[in-house]
């Protein structure tokens, strides 16, 4: 048995980096701060790789089953005998896999930012908060109990808020950061209530007890009910609300596209690869509870995932801001992961959806981070986000071009690139359990190939706009992460995931089902083909098509008016009917009572203060009359 206690350093090193850069950052030069942050993260990455190696190949597997190892657990808060909160490190297949994903992507983005953010104001602050985010995300991933997970959720939320608002002088960035924070915070409220319901009945926060028991600790929750639905269903649906907020599932998806106001490396790290999969991760973590206690909740997860992935893919086809296209693509892919979890069963071959979801999480993190970094590289070169002002960049930026080809093939699901393998497993799982979801996800696969190719052809081929400065290839610090991630995107698909990450820890074999693989590749090729036809040469066909689609196109262009719906619900209904009366009550009744007390006291003190006149003789008179009265009292009354 190997002592895994050293794993506490995996999150703690980024925390120390945050403290060092946050406290001393202003005293050092920007590049030094960047190098310190990156090297700290490099150590974390190495530790994660060592852990993954030891866990997957040396000690994790006992009798063919991957064990859950609690490497470290310490009591953090002790309120009562039953209410204790621990902090610790839990290692099991998904957490170890996430350690690798988070640290790899984060390291790549640290290196990339050395070039991308060079000379920006607040470079040190940027690195300090990148480290802080990495710390929070790692702390979330290794959580031993659901409360630590919640703390992680909140911490990644706040660091995402800070980093989206990095350009805090730009009003859209400020608005976007506020929006992200409020939406995710609102969803986290559901998560917190869910945690409280669960822990009220089971008297524990520990994942150990929650997920490995036979379910007897939930017996009290099945009988208790509220509004005709059992307590456990409420709890799990509320927890899923937290997941939906963090993972930007419908109807909480509105914050993610706006979050693209942040610097591009932040979008790549937080809003594509790591933080947004926290929700998927949590559902996966609680999967056994979902599956055995409330299968109905899983169906909700599956439909919300499928629906989000569909609408996001449609919206992505119409957008012009390259980062927004990628953001909607992220939504769509995370929807895939959610629906895979939703259609998954438990144990062996049945659990293929769960495995596929985690597999897709892994491959998606790599190629989506790559896509965002490429977008950053393009933006760095042409100084605009707008697709219509780009074109014909392949000659100027060869490395970016080639890595984009890799990412495009990976996300479209063309074999042998990584996206193909994970998407294929998801489709297989969907076909087995729910035909409707299967057809929608095949359609989404085609749309994905279409909008990514549209982006690709518009940026690298097509028209030849006039650039004020001749675009140049990005510096080496930016292209090395691109090449690394592209290499991972090519080869990650060959990892036998079903060997490592399964619902019950036991390995199983997956085989390629040609009945699914061939149609999905075909539809992806059709998507690419249509995009090639429309966007390879500059033409007015796309405009004609979009105007012939009329109202449908306009709706998609305006993101199905979800923002407006939210605004209607919040501004018109909640503000007018709930917030305003409460505000009135607060201002006039609560504040009124307080102000009244203060007014009485103020007026009476004006009256009283006249007593302190500064006239010595008045004081003496009062003092002497007081003494005389006291003396008289003693003489006549107290005898």
């Amino acid at each position: 048995m190997i002592d895994y206690t050293y794993t506490v350093w995996i999150p703690l090193i980024p925390l120390f980096m945050f403290l060092i850069l946050g406290l001393l950052g202003m005293k050092m030069k920007g590049s030094l701060a960047g190098i310190i942050g990156s090297s700290g993260l490099f150590i974390t990455t190495v530790l994660s790789y060592i852990t993954a190696y030891l866990y997957f190949f040396k000690t994790g597997e006992v009798d063919g089953t991957y064990q859950t190892i609690t490497a470290f657990n310490t009591e953090w808060l002790n309120f009562t005998d039953t209410l204790r909160i621990h902090m610790g490190v839990m290692l099991d297949p998904i957490s170890v896999m996430m350690l690798v994903v988070v640290s790899t992507v984060s390291l790549m983005i640290h290196i990339y930012s050395l070039g991308y953010m060079k000379g920006e104001k607040g470079f040190q602050r940027f690195y300090a908060f990148l480290s802080f985010f990495t710390f929070s995300m790692l702390g979330l991933v290794i959580a031993t109990n659901i409360f630590q997970m919640y703390i992680g959720f909140e911490l990644v939320g706040i660091s995402s808020y800070i980093l989206i608002g990095f350009y805090y002088e730009k009003p859209p960035a400020v608005a976007a950061s506020k929006k992200a924070f409020i939406v995710t915070r609102f969803a986290d409220l559901g998560f917190l209530i869910g945690i409280l319901i669960i822990s009220f009945y089971t008297k524990t926060f520990d994942f150990d007890k929650l997920i490995s028991s036979d379910g007897s600790i939930f017996s009290g929750m099945n009988t208790a009910s509220f509004m005709g639905v059992s307590a456990i269903t409420w709890a799990l649906l509320l927890i899923f609300m937290g997941c939906a907020g963090k993972s930007a599932m419908f109807p909480f998806h509105i914050w993610l596209p706006d979050a693209m106001e942040g610097p591009t490396p932040v979008s790549a790290l937080i809003h594509a690869a790591t933080m947004v999969v926290a929700g998927v991760y949590l559902v996966a973590r609680m999967f056994i509870v979902f599956h055995f206690q409330v299968p109905g909740a899983l169906i909700v997860v599956a439909y919300i995932g499928a629906f989000t992935s569909l609408i996001a893919a449609i919206v992505a086809c119409t957008q012009f801001d390259i980062k927004r296209i990628l953001a909607y693509s992220t939504l769509s892919q995370i929807g895939y992961m959610m629906l895979a979890l939703g259609v998954s069963g438990y144990g062996g071959e049945e659990g293929v959806g769960y495995m596929a979801s985690m597999f897709h999480l892994f491959t998606h993190a790599m190629f989506k981070a790559l896509l965002f970094l490429i977008a950053g590289s393009v933006i760095h070169a042409v100084h605009t986000n707008d697709l219509r002002e780009m074109g014909n960049l392949r000659k100027y930026m060869p490395v970016t071009f080639i890595t984009f080809v890799v990412a495009l093939l990976a996300i479209s699901g063309i074999p042998p690139f990584s996206g193909f393998w994970s998407k294929d497993e998801i489709l297989a799982a969907a076909l087995e359990h729910n035909k409707l979801i299967f057809y929608s996800s095949v359609f989404v696969a085609g749309l994905t190939a279409f909008y990514m190719s549209r982006l690709f052809f518009s940026v690298f081929f097509g028209k030849k706009p006039h650039y004020e400065h001749k675009p140049q290839e990005s510096p080496l610090t930016m292209t090395i992460p691109l090449m690394f991630l592209a290499a991972v995107s090519i080869f990650a698909g060959f990892i036998p995931f079903s060997r490592f990450v399964t619902t019950d820890g036991k390995a199983f074999e997956t085989t390629l089902n040609y009945m699914i693989a061939v149609p999905s590749v075909l539809i992806a090729l059709i998507g690419i083909g249509i995009a090639y036809f429309l966007y390879f040469k500059e033409s007015n066909v796309p405009d004609k098509i979009s105007s012939s689609l009329g109202i449908f196109y306009k709706t998609a262009l305006n993101k199905f008016y979800f923002d407006e719906m939210w605004l209607f619900v919040t501004k018109k209904i909640i503000f007018n009917l709930i917030s305003n009366p409460i505000a009135w009550f607060d201002r006039h009744i609560v504040d009124g009572a307080m102000n009244g007390v203060a007014w009485v006291i103020e007026k009476s003190s004006y009256k009283i203060k006249g007593l302190q006149s500064g006239q010595l003789q008045q004081y003496a008179f009062v003092f002497i009359s007081g003494s005389v009265i006291l003396v008289l009292c003693f003489i006549y009354w107290l005898n």
Binding site: K609, S613, Q615, Q617
Partner: protein, 105 residues
């Protein structure tokens, strides 16, 4: 024990002095007269010390010593007070007690 004079006579004199002092302290305006009133109060207390010592404990000296301490304190107090008055005079050009009301609210 002083022959022919009962203790009450002394006490009456000292009480009259004490209240004259109090009265002066409260109603006079000039700080120097107020200081003089304070001296009167102190001296009436001194008389009490001596008389009680003489009449009640004729073979002991505590009363005498206390009286001497009071005299010494009174003298130093007068010195300090008059120094203060001079400073006040420089500042306000008079030593009326009504003008010294800087320490109000």
């Amino acid at each position: 024990m002083i022959q022919g004079i009962p203790i009450q006579c002394f006490l009456i004199v000292s009480t009259i002095m004490f209240f004259i002092g109090i009265c002066g302290f409260i109603i006079r305006h000039n700080l120097i007269t107020i200081l003089m009133s304070v001296e009167l109060i102190l001296n009436s207390v001194n008389i009490n010390f001596l008389v009680f010592n003489k009449y009640l404990f004729p073979h002991q000296l505590q009363g005498h010593f206390f009286a001497m301490i009071v005299v010494a304190i009174a003298a130093s107090e007068a010195a300090v007070a008059i120094a203060l008055f001079i400073n006040m005079y420089r500042k306000f050009n008079n030593i009326e007690v009504e003008n010294i009301n800087e320490m109000k609210y």
